[in-house]
Symmetry: C2
Subunit: 366 residues, 2 copies
Amino acid sequence: MASITTADVMPSEEARVAWLDALGERCLAEAHRFAEARALDHFSGHREGELAKTVIPQFVAGGKSLRPMFAYVGWRCGGPESDAALRAASSLELLHCFALAQDDVMDGSLLRRGRPALHIRFARWHSEQGWSGSADRFGESAATLFGDLFLVWSEQMLRESGLDTESLSRGWPRYDLMRAELAVGQLADLVNDAREFPSWETLLDVLRRKSGNYTVRRPLEFGAALAGCGPDVLDALADYGELVGEAFQFRDDLLGVFGDPAVTGKPAGQDLRDRKASSVVVLAAEMADRRQRAELDELLALPTVDDEAVSRWRRLIVTSGARDRLGELIRERADKAVAAIDPALFPPHAADSLSILAVRCTERDQ
Amino acid sequence: MASITTADVMPSEEARVAWLDALGERCLAEAHRFAEARALDHFSGHREGELAKTVIPQFVAGGKSLRPMFAYVGWRCGGPESDAALRAASSLELLHCFALAQDDVMDGSLLRRGRPALHIRFARWHSEQGWSGSADRFGESAATLFGDLFLVWSEQMLRESGLDTESLSRGWPRYDLMRAELAVGQLADLVNDAREFPSWETLLDVLRRKSGNYTVRRPLEFGAALAGCGPDVLDALADYGELVGEAFQFRDDLLGVFGDPAVTGKPAGQDLRDRKASSVVVLAAEMADRRQRAELDELLALPTVDDEAVSRWRRLIVTSGARDRLGELIRERADKAVAAIDPALFPPHAADSLSILAVRCTERDQ
């Protein structure tokens, strides 16, 4: 008989990666199941519901389940494996669907997850019916309402997760903060977009208040709070979460300029076409020499950013050194984040998961 | 010394009216206090928050508190006077603010409660800052986000009302249903507006699914469920609520055509200008003779409905008999509703309150 080896007790990194992949899939399946059941409840038997019954669960199924994974890993910093906790964590995927559906309306985004955005799909449907009134306006209103439903369903899914009242009551303040920050942060984003070109410092401030917190830090804290983790663990997760969240956003911004459309599901150079003051764009402006700055002003003043302008702008970002510098900043943050996870404070499986997720968030190509 | 008279034990109708008025004010004050505290939490210290900190609580304060009153009267069908139940009931006012903020964006309404609608106020603010981008789009996005915050705050206010877990767990299914019906009903409304002119039957169906349930029936059922009322009481409240809710909407539609702008806070004949297929408009079409129907088709085809067209359309509604007929339908429903409240099932104070509210909802002029 084989004796028990270290490999049986301490799973290999490969096994941990497989566990995380399976976790992501289970979370997505839970969120999908919940949304599908609610869509059936509310949209059966009405003509306007036929499309919703298909499109709503499909929209949920397209996610990456990153926030539920962080929430569940947060839970595992202090709690046992639990189906109820997994459902509670998965409720964050529906919260994310709320944010995507409504943000795409506000930002006028045409594509989401490689498909037409929700508001575009419902605008097309309106046109196909030959109805009166503005199809665009109808599509935007419908997507906003589906966003509202996702927001309601997320909270309902958490409340009905099966977690005991005490665990839930530890989680609610974090959950409420996350929901409010999401709306308040999106407002700050809109204000930022409307103002003059921001400085690097202003940009970091908005980023910390919005995406940085929302994607990594808050989900981790939420899961750990549900499990009743103490302040030491919560503080370390806050440090880790802020660093990985920021690096995640930097990586997202690099993909918004240099990403492969076939992988990201968004048009090439979309952030440049939208003249979005993203981290890589602002950093290029700060690092540009005089000649480059003049060219950037020219690009910013163009009425529309076409393929040729995208190429010029990309070249400028590379030659200014901003692309490489942002890559360094991402790696620095990922390294610091992993160092924030003190092995004395965290169970080994949680520490391993956090290391793997730090890499996954900062080296991802979609 | 004066002996105890019936008047001391059974409060007069006047005392009951005063109690209801005070109830409405207390509910509004609770909702206002909650929203103000949250707005301070989230908007202090940010430039974009200065206006929100003022406008958000002001928006709440402008309400009529009808839904919280029904919810609290529902609670009093089985529960004792309770500050916690009053706060739970008041959470419905924030839910209503969510609906108003977003519906006004979708319907393009300019005025709300005698002031510019939320999206208009934030569009103006954007213009005043001299920012780039579309001020209208910014205003709509901001109002949508404030709507989201109201939706979140309503649920948070209910959860933190101080009601015990058991009472709350009886209320959640009703609350979830109400929230979902609100979004699904608004979608049905948009679809209805986009289609051809509806029949009276189609209109009643949409009305029952949306406003009829939302304003009276669901709040009553929610409050009674919190208090643990049995099926007999819940069934009677459902009957009462459906009738009063429908009559409330009919009355609202009459005000949308004939209401005094100084009292309603909306422009005269707004529903006609918006070519809204409201109950009174659809009923006039059904009751119109051939000549009147031809004139109506002419009015419906006008590119814009000006003051003169409003006058013609109003005259047509009166001469078709639709105005008087709708008044009869309102009175019939109010009478039937009061009859649904069996004195054997309801405490006298609750029965009295329901009678007074039935009248108030159907004879209101704002």
